[in-house]
Amino acid sequence: MSRRISPVRQRWLSRRAFLLHFLLVTIAPGCLFAGWWQVHRALSGNLVSYFYSIEWPIFAVLAGVAWWQLLHDEERPGLAAPARAEGEGQPRGRRSWWHGSEQAPVTPPPLRWDRSQESPELAAYNDYLRSLAAGGRKKTWRNPRGLPDAPVEAR
C-alpha cells in the first residue's frame, strides 16, 4: 500500500473538505429558500423585496463559488499552507479522515535569521561576535602582558 494518499482523496475527502461540503449543503439551499420567501414578500407588495429576491440566489451561487475555490486554493498564488502547530510539518486540515496517520511527513523549510527582527542590543552583540570571528586575535595560552608578578623592566 502506498504511503501517499491520492491527491483526489486528499482534496475531496479530507476533514476540511467534508466541512466545506457540509457548509455548501447547508448554506446554498438556505439562501435559495430565503430567496423564495422574498419573492412571496415582493409579490405581496414589498418593493425592497424585489431586490432581495435577486440577492439571495446570488448568495447561493457565491456559496458554490467559495466551495469550489476553497477546495482548490493551493493552486493559486498566495502564501504556503500553514503548519498545524509549532514543529509539526503537516498542512492543517488537509489530512484524510481515514488515512490520517499514513501521510508522509513534510519537512519544514529551514529557519532563516532575519536581521530586521533583532533588537538594537542584540544587533550590536552580533556585530561584535562577527568582528571577533573575522579579525579577532588568536587565543593563546601565553599571557601577552607577561606573568602577573614579573618585573616591569622584563617586558
Binding site: L47, G78, L79
Partner: protein, 148 residues
C-alpha cells in the same frame, strides 16, 4: 516546418504576481470593502432603522431603502474579497465565517478588519517560503510591536 527562431524564448506577456504580492493586494481590497460595508451597515442600523421606526412612510424610510440596497450590492463584493483573501492567505474556515458575519453585525467589521490585518501582515512579514505556524505568526506580531 516552424519559422520561429530556435533558442530565443519570448518574454512573458502577462505580469504575474508572486504569492506575497498577490496576498498583500487581496488584503488591501478586503480592507477597503470592510470599511465600506462597515460604514454602510452602521448607517443602516443606527440612522436608518430609528428613522423608519419614527414614521413608516416615504421620506422617513429613504435611508433604509437606499442604503439598504447599496449595502446589499457592496456586501456581495465584500464577500468576493473575503473569499479571495482567505484563499490566498490560507485563513481558517472559522476566520472566513467570522469575516462573512462581520458584514451582518453592526460595528463588527471594523474590529474584524483590524484582526485580519494584523494576522495577515504578520504572515506576510515571514515571507512566502517560511510561514505560518500560528505560534510564529503571533510571535512575529508581538515582537514587531515591541520595537516601536
Amino acid at each position: 516546418m516552424s519559422t520561429e527562431p530556435v533558442g530565443s524564448p519570448e518574454p512573458p506577456r502577462t505580469r504575474t504576481l508572486d504569492g506575497v504580492q498577490a496576498t498583500e493586494r487581496a488584503l488591501r481590497r478586503y480592507q477597503a470593502m470592510a470599511l465600506v460595508v462597515g460604514i454602510g451597515l452602521a448607517t443602516l442600523v443606527f440612522i436608518g432603522i430609528p428613522l423608519q421606526l419614527v414614521h413608516n412612510r416615504w421620506p422617513w424610510t429613504a435611508v433604509v431603502q437606499i442604503v439598504g440596497t447599496a449595502h446589499g450590492v457592496f456586501y456581495i463584493v465584500y464577500l468576493l474579497t473575503c473569499l479571495d483573501l482567505a484563499s490566498r492567505a490560507r485563513l481558517r474556515l472559522a476566520q472566513l465565517l467570522a469575516m462573512v458575519a462581520s458584514g451582518l453585525v453592526p460595528l463588527l467589521a471594523f474590529y474584524m478588519e483590524r484582526q485580519v490585518n494584523r494576522r495577515v501582515r504578520a504572515q506576510l512579514a515571514l515571507g512566502e517560503q517560511r510561514p505560518p505556524s500560528t505560534a510564529a505568526a503571533v510571535w512575529s506580531s508581538v515582537s514587531r510591536r515591541g520595537q516601536r
